[in-house]
Symmetry: C2
Subunit: 502 residues, 2 copies
């Protein structure tokens, strides 16, 4: 074996171990959200801290750094076609981030995130921010420290953003939102006025078993492999890839409205399909990992909204839904139903928001977490800041914190910089829609016929199988032929909603 090959094998070995440990940590998180008994949290915090410490030790070790630098100096060509180069480039990024962080900080963040999560659950139940505040403070404090250690040129928030979306910056996101928010506010007002009178023409109860059946039929049809995954019920839906052959999605069910759990599952299955179609042969290297959360969200939001809330989709699925819930849905008219599930209305809960207002919810979170990390806002002032900004953006008074700043799980897990990836996902999804429709003009007819294979294949070939070969923006550029921009999203929303509501 050549010395280069040998060193590369050594790195593969190190990062395979790291990958397994990260995969185990994801299982711990999944378990915490699904089945862990109430009193298990202290032990879970310690398990998490231990794994995080070991992962950090491995990635940031002198040996890892040395191997990476030695190989990086000689690897040629330095382009995305070279598998070894891609691995080294991404490992180097991983190493450079981890080595800047003290082990104690990594461990502490991991531990506090578990404890804060439990506090958040309680605080949200009681709608009492003070229950969450002490741990929230500690997480903000540790995250500010983390940003400082990682370093940044403009905003400390950039250092955190980069973890979820390589290369994203507060400055660029500010620009992006400034082009997106005004037209969305206008569109919200317009469509809200038009759809105000629209009443939901169906009512429950929709037995959960029926909802599960329907969800499973749908996600298997769009390409989720149920023998390599599972569905569980949780308070805050998420999806997670434990490893090849094991990708888990979750949702919550509303017995009065089957669409809530259904769109939730469709969303998570979008994530799941991406995870399931990453190349298994590269598992343990960056070529087997998803590229960014923005791209991940593009997959989930694409299936949930662009496909899932389309007329074509329901012309296929409404008959199936009627078969499962004959009593409640038999009289339902397709066009009316499609309008109902696309009703635009300022509301409190992000995950239940329509496609137009959704990004306003994200913008609000972006502003707040940026201010928090930059030290311009203190943790105790978050409820007030939230409520004022909410009024400004969506015109509503927040009646209680569980419907305001306590609604989302992210901050309780120490994830600052995560939220903007949702809007990036929406932007990418609209670009994907544009490109895909150009390449397969008959796509709507196919969806109406329940044929999803062409979409599945397109996404697999253009997005999934590339792992981290390209940067997120390059991947989108390769897939769609265009530089990321918010125009397709605005265009998609304006067209769709003017068609639906005139």
């Amino acid at each position: 074996m050549s010395p280069t090959k040998n060193k590369f094998e050594q790195l593969c070995h190190i990062f395979k171990e790291v990958t397994h440990l990260r995969s185990v940590r994801r299982l711990l998180n999944w378990d915490q959200e699904t089945y862990m008994p109430q009193k298990g949290q202290t032990n879970r915090a310690e398990q998490n801290a231990t794994l995080s410490r070991l992962i950090h030790k491995q990635v940031a070790s002198k040996k890892t750094g040395q191997l990476i630098e030695e190989l990086f100096a000689v690897v040629e060509p330095k382009n995305p076609d070279n598998d070894m180069y891609v691995c080294l480039r991404q490992w180097r990024r991983d190493f450079n981030r981890q080595k800047k962080l003290p082990t104690k900080l990594v461990e502490e963040l991991s531990r506090q995130a578990v404890l804060a999560h439990e506090a958040w659950v309680k605080a949200r139940e009681r709608s009492d921010f003070s229950v969450f505040l002490p741990l929230f403070k500690s997480l903000v404090h540790l995250s500010r420290q983390k940003a400082k250690c990682l370093g940044f040129s403009k905003s400390p928030y950039d250092a955190l953003l980069d973890e979820y979306e390589q290369g994203a910056t507060a400055y660029e996101l500010d620009k992006l939102f400034s082009r997106l928010v005004p037209p969305l506010k206008t569109l919200t007002q317009k469509v809200f006025d038009k759809s105000r009178g629209l009443a939901k023409e169906f009512s429950g109860p929709f037995p959960i078993s029926g909802q599960k059946t329907m969800a499973q039929i749908a996600i298997v049809k769009i390409g989720f492999d149920m023998t390599a995954g599972r569905i569980d019920t949780v308070v805050h839906p998420f999806s997670t890839k434990i490893g090849p052959g094991d990708c888990r999605i979750t949702t919550r069910w509303n017995i009065q409205d089957f669409t809530e759990g259904f769109f939730g599952i469709l969303h998570e299955a979008g994530h799941g399909i991406y995870s399931q179609n990453l190349p298994t042969k590269w598992y343990g290297t960056p070529l087997g990992e998803s590229v960014s959360l923005g791209v991940h969200e593009s997959q989930s939001r694409f299936w949930e909204n662009i496909v899932g809330r389309s007329r074509a989709f329901w012309s296929h699925f409404l008959p199936i839904a009627k078969g499962i819930f004959p009593g409640s849905l038999c009289m339902l008219d397709l066009d009316k139903f499609v309008r109902v599930i696309n009703k635009v209305e300022p509301s409190y809960i992000r995950v239940e928001a329509d496609e137009v207002t959704y990004n306003l919810h994200i913008y609000l979170r972006f502003v707040i977490e940026k201010e928090l990390i930059e030290g311009k806002l203190q943790p105790e002032d978050v409820p007030d800041r939230w409520n004022r900004l909410f009024k400004e953006l969506l015109g509503l008074e927040v009646p209680k914190d569980s419907m305001g700043c306590l609604q989302d799980v992210h901050w309780s897990g120490g994830s600052f910089g995560y939220f903007p990836t949702y809007t990036l996902g929406n932007i990418y999804a609209a670009m994907i829609r544009e490109a895909l429709t150009k390449e397969i003009p008959e796509i709507e007819t196919m969806i109406s016929a329940g044929e999803f294979q062409p979409i599945f294949n397109w996404l697999r070939d253009k997005i999934h199988i590339h792992g981290q070969r390209f940067s997120p923006t390059d991947l989108i550029r390769h897939a769609t032929g265009k530089k990321p921009s918010s125009e397709p999203l605005i265009h998609y929303l304006e067209t769709k909603f003017s068609q639906l509501f005139g």
Copy 2:
């Protein structure tokens, strides 16, 4: 801090990490048996192998060995009252075992055990031993190697036994079984003749939700903390302590016979209560760990059989059961019911066997696994050997391997030397019964009144809270005032069954 104290702290730190990793590995195993998707097994095998490698590396490291030896030389007094001595004694044992094993072997055993488990599930479903054989061969081969590495004076099987029951040997077990098997065979024949005509006077369906309610009522009454544990449904029931505040038990439900799942849960809750009452403040050290599987089984078999199959227990619980299943049980007579659940009859499945024949099932497994590890029996000859021995001990022809050598999960997990601990558990449980009855003569009246606190307290104070302070036999001697012997078991069984069936 004194140098001794400092070194001890270092060791505590090392073994705390090891404890967390072992705890994570138990969660992986729990997940594999409960919720892991079908295609997740390859990844699970790698996760397991990674954790086992890291655990092995930590325990068997030069530094660990050095710290232990340095402290062991100076620690005084060398008796069980000295916490530090106990920790060092048990850590030393752990170190001495692990350092003899090559990392590769540890890793491979861990990996193969996951894969073999999946093969066993398939083989058992199809009752086809050949599906299991290749992986079974590999596990036997690796386990023989393991025994060789660990070293032994008489039988290589001793080296494996010691993992589950410190100090147990094939020689001693042979002696024990030779005193136990003949009277049990005689008793089986006698009681079988008497109880032959006994018909089950109840029939299902018993809705699973009702069975779950009843199981939960019972285990909470006997002292299992449901906020620090949970119940799941599996093919092969087990219990596992993930960590403090997180102890999980499992069972399978039979819709036609509520007693099957009920006794299963009672058994696993017995394990669970032991786990939940180990001293949390010592977690991460041997003083916070259960002492042996034999003692563990004494707890489960005590609650399942000695309490759970007694007339007193059902004089309290039958009315509760009748309340939950009024249609199926309302006419049931207490005395007849107690006879039915204590019917003695040679049968195929160990976990469903009565108290008398149960130990014959164990003896069979003991003989076979001893021969396997000693190289006197080859893996491919197990079905034949099983069936001949079964005929000899229980007088029945085994119709298919799923009712014979494929029924148990243990060998598929590479657990050779585990089975005899069930009989040790029965022996200890009968001794505990004898001692407890002497100390609390009114115990039956209490059980009849649904008062289990005195039993719970006795077990907690005499067994649970000691962790690994004493050796298994010393712990039993302290608790019962007697040296372990099979007489109390034989006496208990002969008395109970002559009272029941004359």
